[in-house]
Amino acid sequence: MSLTTSELAKFSDFCKKNNYHIPVGSTQTFLKYKIKKDLKSREESLKYLYYLLPKDKESQQTLKSLIYKYFNYMINDSSTTTFHIIKEYLEDNHQLLEILEDINSGNISKIQQKSSELIMNDIEADFTRPVSDLYWLNQIKKTRKYRDFLDMFNNLDISNFSELTNQLNKNNLEKLLDNSILEKIREERNKQKAAYKPSELEPKTQLNETDFLFTSHEERKLLLDQTYQLGKKLAIKYKRFIKDSNKGRLYFRKTIRKSLESGGSLQKIIFKPKLRQKPKLTIVCDISGSMALNSLFGVTLLYGMVSKFTSIKAYVFIDGITEISKTLRSIKKNEIETIFSRWSEFVKSDGHSDYQTSFKELIELDSSENGTLIVIGDARNNYRNISQDLIDSLGKKYKKIFWINPEQRKYWNTGDSQMLKFEAINYKTVEVRNYKQLKDFIKEMDFKKVLSL
């Protein structure tokens, strides 16, 4: 049976509730194609819904999971893991062969069944406990049944030739199984949602809306890579703004000289090159303990920016400021985490975040005047004071200050958070706890509008 228009409308409503908005134009395009091509089967219609609606990779992934949730149909696209079947599976292990072939053809029911079994039978899980999904995943990964399942790849008489392919298949199946287990854990926790009070423990819907703190290792890897790309994009935005505003005054002599080529008529006006402005973008990131994983995302953003535009200054701080622009430029993307192994180098006195000292040092160290400052931090100052003098000098030093706070807005100005004081001088203060919020912040950042004010 084909997908009916009313079903599509209901699905569109479902998407809306999950923060995914389907533009009318895209629905029209889909319906036009469906009617003209006379798509009869539901699977075919869902497949084209997936092809024609999303306009970027992220929304493709979101729509894929929403189609699965609503229609219980898994779209089999090129990003779905495909397994290369080696002859040893055909000879030695038909059960494994069946699972892998099913996944290759888009059917993941066996993996889901397995993950349900692992959750229900193997650990006595009390999902009302306020621990993260990853805790439960790690508990399951330690069980014998979990290990036995993946041991299917090891109990084969594999030739040297197929070893690598077998290893790849094993890694991929493990990832799939882990993701499926995580899904099931979230479902279980959803059922017992009433038991949860803190809203930050609510099961996530989409990866890009997941709190950085609650991402699995694989998810984090993906998000960190995307964060690095966002850093580059932000730097490119800034670079282009600087370039645009670099046009100098009219170069009268050269304009007249050029006009001689066209018989004296002024066809091309030549401008004097303006003395190249030094870009005045400074970005600082709090890497103290309270920032937890968020500082890794912050430093990755810093890395993306300085790798694209050499003059951007990057600093990290705990209880004193340290410039890391040069360090970031000298390391590779996969070495970003090594910054945190040098934590002791960034501690100036007691290792607890001190915004007063850090910003005071920043004002002295940073030679740029009237520039832009981006701060990534939770403004938690360990009950130390932040003087009004510091706030005033910070406001004078930078033309515009943007503040990215990884804490939920409702926790700002509670306990030792000093957000209120900084908000007074910030041009924009945003809550960024997940990739979507970070992307929105960068998308909305219009240097032209902001810095020409």
Partner: protein, 276 residues
């Protein structure tokens, strides 16, 4: 223009190996006569896809390579001022100074006004400035270009438009909305195997699978620069020709010293665990 659906066989015959998903999206974009926005990491064959399509569909390829600072003069049209000036000096009638005679057609206008079926490739659109995207909206949505001095020039429905992007900058929603989206990732083992068999002379099927698996394994490592399809093909070609081992001539495949180290370490660990 002929909009008969393409088959995998058509693509493979022209040296392009892909899966059914890619084919379905291309066929849908052609059927709906909508531009195709192909996004993906560098070296996955986005430009090659456009070239292959122009060859299969027998379309003239008109390419616009985008870069920072590209503007209307370089992309759409420019008035031939010198010719206009000469005309002013020599003729008494100056009424038609802004006619087609004085127009220098750049790729977008050339594709729009071409009488022949053509494929317009707007390559690396993310390198162009955001303002430039606005210039494209009219041609992408309405298939027309407005020249203030001449009016609106409407194009025929005789073209396929492909835009490619490496995603270094966020493209505007307005541009995305007008296109059909295709994400092109690195090939699967099966497709890479087919590419190797097709391009590397003297490679056996077993070797092709072995190399395809190895390359897929390498791409899954935490590398600074993931090897492109061309780099992997060249590396295999060189290794097969010289009968070299897998850890030799790594410079062809991996263009970063730390990536070499990472690969060698990972292979060492892998071999150790297998020996156990």
């Amino acid at each position: 223009m002929n909009v008969k659906d393409l088959s995998l066989y058509d693509l493979e015959n022209n040296g392009y190996f892909a899966d059914n998903n890619l084919l379905d999206v291309i066929n849908a974009a052609r059927f709906l006569n909508k531009p195709l926005l192909v996004e993906g990491p560098a070296g996955t064959g986005k430009t090659f896809l456009a070239k292959t399509l122009s060859r299969i569909l027998n379309l003239e390829l008109i390419r616009l390579q985008c870069h920072e600072g590209i503007d209307e003069d370089r992309a759409v049209y420019e008035w031939n001022y010198k010719k206009q000036l000469l005309s002013i000096q020599s003729k008494s009638d100056k009424s038609n100074l802004f006619s087609e005679e004085y127009l220098i057609k750049r790729p977008l206008l050339k594709s729009l006004t071409s009488q022949d079926d053509n494929l317009l490739l707007i390559d690396e659109i993310d390198r162009a400035d955001e303002e430039f995207e606005a210039l494209l909206l009219e041609i992408l949505a309405e298939n027309q270009i407005t020249i203030p001095e001449m009016g609106t020039i409407e194009g025929k429905e005789n073209k396929v438009i492909i835009l490619t992007s490496n995603n270094t900058r966020e493209l505007s929603d307005a541009l995305r909305r007008r296109c059909i989206y295709l994400y092109l990732d690195f090939p699967t083992i099966e497709i890479e195997k087919k590419v190797l068999i097709n391009t590397v002379e003297g490679i056996s099927e077993d070797d092709a699978i072995k190399y395809a698996s190895l390359i897929s394994y390498i791409r899954n490592l935490n590398l600074n620069k993931i090897p492109s399809l061309i780099e992997s093909v060249e590396w295999v070609k060189f290794n097969i020709f010289n009968k070299s081992k897998n850890d030799e001539n790594l410079g062809i495949l991996l263009k970063d010293k730390s990536d070499h180290k990472l690969y060698l370490e990972s292979m060492e660990n892998f071999n150790e665990s297998n020996n156990k």
